[in-house]
Structures are given as C-alpha cells and as structure tokens.
Symmetry: none
C-alpha cells in the first residue's frame, strides 16, 4: 500500500513497540543435522512465544533478492527498500557510526599497494593492522589540505578499510571509482559523470594526489583506492513518518548508523546480549515508544558457515525472551533482517520467520519458531516493509482509512 496513505493515519499513543531483531535469523537445513538452525535449536521460550502470537514469514526486498544490511533494515523500519536506496559510500560511513550531514559525499576507501610503474599490486595493502590504519589516517589528517571551504574525513574501519567523506557546498557523488578492481592495473582517474560533479571530482583527485605523497614511503599502504561514491540525502525520520519516538540498542556501528538514518536515538554499545537487554529494561520507562534491539551474532555465525555456532547464539538469545516479555510491551516483534543460512555462509533471499505478539494478534496454530512451522502463521508470507504498519496497527497507533 502507498506509504503516503499510511503516514496520514498515524495517531499519537503511549503504547510501546519492541522490535527484537536477530540478524541473519532465517536459515536452511544442513545435511546430517536434522533441519535448519532454528529447527534444530532448543528454543523453549521462543516456541512458547510463537504459540501465543501471530506468526509468519517476511520477504525483505523481493523474490530471490538477498539484501544487504542497509535495505533489510530499512524494510524493517517501514521504509520501501527500493525507493529509499542508500549508496555504498553512505553505508560505509554509517558503518563506522560517522555522523553524516546532508550533502556529504562519502566513498569506501582501501589502503592499497602500488608498484613503481604505478600499478596497483595489492588492493588491500597486505591487510595492514587496525593500528597501522589508524596511524595512517592521522597522518593524512595532518598533511592533506583541500582549501578553507572543504571539510574532509578519512576514518579508519578495520584492516585496510576506511571511509572517506567530503563536506562542502556544491558537491555531487556522480564520480567514477578509482579502484581498478583487478591487479596489476593502474588506479583509475576519478571522473565527473555529470557536469555538476566537476568540483567534487577535482577535490577527490587533489585528495588522492596529496594522500599518495603523504604515503609514498609506506611499504604496503602507499596509496588509496576509492569506490561507491554516494551523497547523503536525509530521509523522513520515523518520528516524522510514524510519530514514533524510537531508540536503538545495537552493538555494531553499522546498525547504529542505520538507526540514526531514520532518526532514532542511539544508546551506547553494550558488551554483550545481556547488556543490551539490561539497556532495554533501563530505558523502557522513558518517553520512547519504539525500541529497536539488534543481536548481531547469529548473522556472524551464519556468515562463517558455522551451523553449530549459530544454533548456540539462537539458544543464548532464547534465554532472554522472558526478560523482554516481562516489560509487557504492547507489541513485541521477534524476527531477523534477512536469512543467513550457514550452508550458504552468506545473506540469502529466503523469507525470515517472524513472531508478532500483542493482545490483538490473530493467534494461530504455530507453536514452534522455525521457517516451516511459521508457514501456517496468520501473518502469512508478506513483504518485510509491511511489518511496521502491522506493529503500528496492533499497538493502536493507526486510525481508520476512509469513512
């Protein structure tokens, strides 16, 4: 349905919604293991919650589409992940918790190794250490100057990776990548892909020239490659769109960044899941009416192809469900942003099981929380972007459409 119509039906209310997001939740059976991660795991609390709730499956973006974290979370937050696309550079900056301002142009950056003939021979600079990365970023900060009207940022991620951001008037992100993608080839020129990107392209070129000079004596990281230029355009916040005062509890910077993108308040990172649950409880009585709690580890284990490890994470998570329920939220949703089957060791396109708990939920016959049991759920299989409207409805935050 048109999101614009949904946005007109919002009515203020004190009811509270918790989105308990287990990253990479959905899975697939692995041979010899007797089922999928969810099917094999021992999840007494999630199974009981499923039995008392409406269940179903959510498709993050579309049939066959394996989403990245960006589109998957936008869908969870009620934003059409096709309409609200976020460039890779912007995601990269969000991923290190960098506070972008409107108009900023961001790119993914790699330290790399160039030979004497000017050819890139290692696109990852031998995977330099995080410490080296940080030191080099500091040096760049001291030595590169792009003029008084331009701010720039070069912020370390892990190993050879960094985020590059240009801030100033009249910038555009229509700039071609400098990363040749293959070795041994020279880096590409950053070219303006449309005329109003000339200024930004010139600044990128200047930045790269000065950076190369700064780094010239480095053995490995003697140059920088940039790709995925994207400009940050703010999107309407969850407060503006849905009247939600939202807060994020997430230990990984990417998810804090995505939550910031839709205007959530961000709590400080916690040491572990127990810490996140404690933070939820501590903040529950504050003025927030939407709580996004993000559990990363299931995805990590799935990405590692670690079937047993993912099961262990799910079983760990299961123990915290009673504490979440004890807060008596008006709506509790448990789901993932996408599937990460261990057998694929990557994000996948498979729909993600979902539990929607509310006194107005149409409780179905599902009494086990897994991919196949949830097929019998009253929510059916539907687009993930429908989840937020459903949560709003079940917490009585929507008025009737039409008379």
């Amino acid at each position: 349905m048109s999101k614009e119509i949904l946005d007109t039906l919002i009515t203020p209310s004190d009811t509270k919604i918790i989105f308990f997001i287990i990253d990479g939740l959905g899975g697939l059976p692995m041979e010899g293991r007797g089922g999928s991660e969810l099917e094999v795991a021992n999840l007494p609390n999630l199974d009981q919650l499923a039995a008392q709730s409406a269940c179903g499956l959510l498709e993050p973006v579309g049939a066959g589409i394996s989403p990245g974290s960006g589109p998957a979370h936008l869908a969870l937050f009620g934003y059409d992940p096709i309409k609200y696309s976020i460039g890779r550079g912007v995601l990269s900056a969000l991923g290190i918790d960098f506070e972008l301002k409107p108009g900023d142009v961001a790119a993914r950056a790699n330290f790399a190794t160039m030979d004497r003939e000017g050819r890139v021979i290692d696109r990852r600079a031998g995977r330099i250490s995080d410490t080296t990365n940080q030191q080099l970023c500091q040096r760049l900060k001291k030595e590169v100057f792009l003029g008084p009207d331009i701010q720039w940022f070069f912020e370390p991620e892990k190993e050879h990776r960094a985020a590059f951001v240009l801030r100033g008037e009249g910038l555009s992100s229509e700039i071609s990548d400098t990363d040749p993608q293959k070795t041994p080839f020279p880096p590409k020129e950053p070219k303006a892909l449309e005329s109003n990107a000339d200024k930004a392209a010139r600044l990128v070129k200047e930045f790269l020239a000065q950076a190369q000079k700064t780094l010239q004596d480095e053995e490995k990281a003697n140059m920088i490659l940039l790709r995925g230029f994207a400009q940050y355009h703010p999107i309407p916040s969850m407060s503006e769109r849905f009247g939600l005062k939202a807060v994020a509890i997430a230990n990984y910077p990417m998810y804090r960044g995505l939550a910031r993108l839709v205007g959530m308040d961000i709590l400080p990172p916690c040491p572990d899941i127990a810490g996140e649950i404690a933070a939820l409880a501590q903040n529950y009585e504050k003025s927030y009416n939407f709580f996004f709690i993000h559990i990363k580890e299931a995805d990590t284990k799935g990405e590692d192809g670690n079937f047993a490890g993912k099961i262990k994470v799910l079983e760990d998570v299961d123990r915290f469900i009673p504490q979440v329920l004890a807060l008596r939220p008006d709506v509790l949703v448990v789901t993932g942003d996408h599937s990460t089957p261990s057998v694929l060791a990557s994000h996948s396109w498979h729909p993600v099981p979902v539990i929607l708990h509310s006194k107005y939920a149409r409780v179905d016959k599902v009494d086990k929380f897994d991919e196949i049991s949830c097929l019998a759920g009253s929510l059916g299989q539907q687009p993930m972007v429908n989840l937020l409207p459903l949560a709003l409805a079940h917490s009585l935050k929507l008025i009737k459409y039409g008379a």
Copy 2:
C-alpha cells in the same frame, strides 16, 4: 494485477455471481470465550460450504490498515481502494441514499450550539432528536436561497447530523472546514484552498449566514458546522468495467449508496435478513448476473463489543445459506468487507475469511469457516481487490490473457 488488463479480458456470459457480504465478519478471540466469534459460533451450513469450496483470507486495503466502509466495499467490488478514494462528504451523502450528480460538492453537517459571544459550545447541539433535525432541515429549505443557478440540499441523518450538497456549475470542494473541532471556539471561515474554489466558498459562506439567521431563535441547534468537503466524480461502473449487470440488496443507506456509486441497481430496503434473502430469490431470474447482498448486523454487534450478539447474528445468517445455495449460483462468495472484532469494538486491519464456491473452485481441506481454519485455504491470503477478478474467472467471464 493491473485492473486495466483485467478490464480487457471481460467476455459476456449468463453465469451468475452472488456476493454474500457479512459486514465486519472477521474477529478475534475474546478471553475466556474459547476463540473468535466465528470459531465459537455454531455454523453448520457455512462449515459445510467451506468444506466444498475454496477458502482464504482477504486484506481489504493494506497491511495494518483498518478500512472504513467506503474503501472496503470498493475493494469488494473490484476497485483499488487507494486509487478510487471517496471523500468524507460524498460518503456522507451516499450514507443517506442521496443521489449525487457529477460535480456535486458534499459535506458532513452538524447542527451545533453557539453562545452569545459567537463561540461553539456544543458541536452536537445536545444531540437533538431525529424529528427536530428533520423539521429544521425543512425550515432551511424554505428560507435559504442561494440564487437561481445553484441547487442545494440539506438532508437529515440522525440526531444532530445532516448532509449538505451544493449543485451548480464551476464548483470545487477545495474548501476548509468550518468545524473548530473543539469548544468553546468560534466556527472557522470556509476558505477557498485554491483559486477555483472561490465560488463554492462564497456560496458556503452565504448558506451558513442565512442558515444562522433561520436558526437564530433555536435553543440548541442555532447554527451549522460543515466539514469534509468533497466533490463527486463518477467512477466507471461495474457494467462498464466488468460487463456485470449488478443489483444490490442492502438495508442500510450507506451500502446502497456505495452500490449506486459503482452503478448497481438498488432494490428497496427489506425489514430483515429473511427479507433480503427473499428479495434475492425473487430477483434471481431477472437479467442480473451479479448480486450484492449485504448483512449489516454482524458489524453492529462487533462495534458494540457484543461478542455473544455477534455470534447470534452469525448463527442467524448461517440458517439462510441453504436458501442461497438453492439458487445454484455459478459463483457464491461469502465474506465480509473488513473485520470488526468485538474485543476491539471497531473496524480492524485483520484479514477477512472468504469462501468461494463454484464448480471450478480449487476445493481445499478447510472444513470450518473461521479465521484460522481459512489460513489453509487454496485462496491463501490476498488483497480484497482480487476477489472480483477471481469471481469473474470462476464464472467463466474472463478470456485468456495473451496468446
């Protein structure tokens, strides 16, 4: 699917379709009652019909959206309820069975009480009686004159409510409400919200001034408030779009109005459900090939939060199913326009169970007509606007798409 494509596939046929619509059909379990209204009710005929039919659930407008009667019925009749939105003023006029003409501007009207300082102190004029309402409408008719080129109507609903309609050349409904919504505040000026609404705004102003003079000695109903101005734009009829010669059997004016909106013939109101079924039988052999029969009472009981009362209505309705089946329609659909769970005492967003009976239906394993049983139906869960195309297909009124 695109409605435009559907419309190109229509082929004439003598087959007959009955839409048996139980308003507010869907429900939710109420604590201590052992299930939802449909689950608890004793419905031998509907259960048997379900067992011999294709079942499923229909979502009226979209995820989480609780529809009013207008959009819900448009969806039933095969009209996208977002694309074909009907303004509140138009619905109000439809709701008293008023025959709108293209270009008419309609608004909801309240009799109200104003104090000597010109402030509205009761937006409902102490809920005057229906009789007083009718008398005041008559007086307005006699005493207000807006010029020779403008027709206007002020038609009583119940208590303090009425419908106001302006008819003439060059009108627009882009006029602001006069209802201040809160007391004690003076009424607002009716303002033209775009330049081509100047004429209509001026007429509304003139009407209100003359009406106030007419009503000035009334103790309670000494003024009128107007809101929800909307212009009537005809929409393509079911005959034009689907080649259906459609007739409506509905006891409540709102539903006759909605049926008229899509070009149905309208039979006179009947005293009760038995009367409606008799009217269906009496008209069945006429040239109609689409019969819309509307049972209001389930919604009324749901709106009242009367769980037992809604069950009784459902059981009453159930007894008439054999008489409907005895007509041997090519397609018999039993469903609702939306859910009205007694526990919510209001329209809700929950999908509505549906039975589609036809010799070409894909009969599934559903043998009980309720919200959870229908989840296993061969129709699955789908948008309500799909129902009419499905009925057309099952009555062999659609040709193949493409070669």
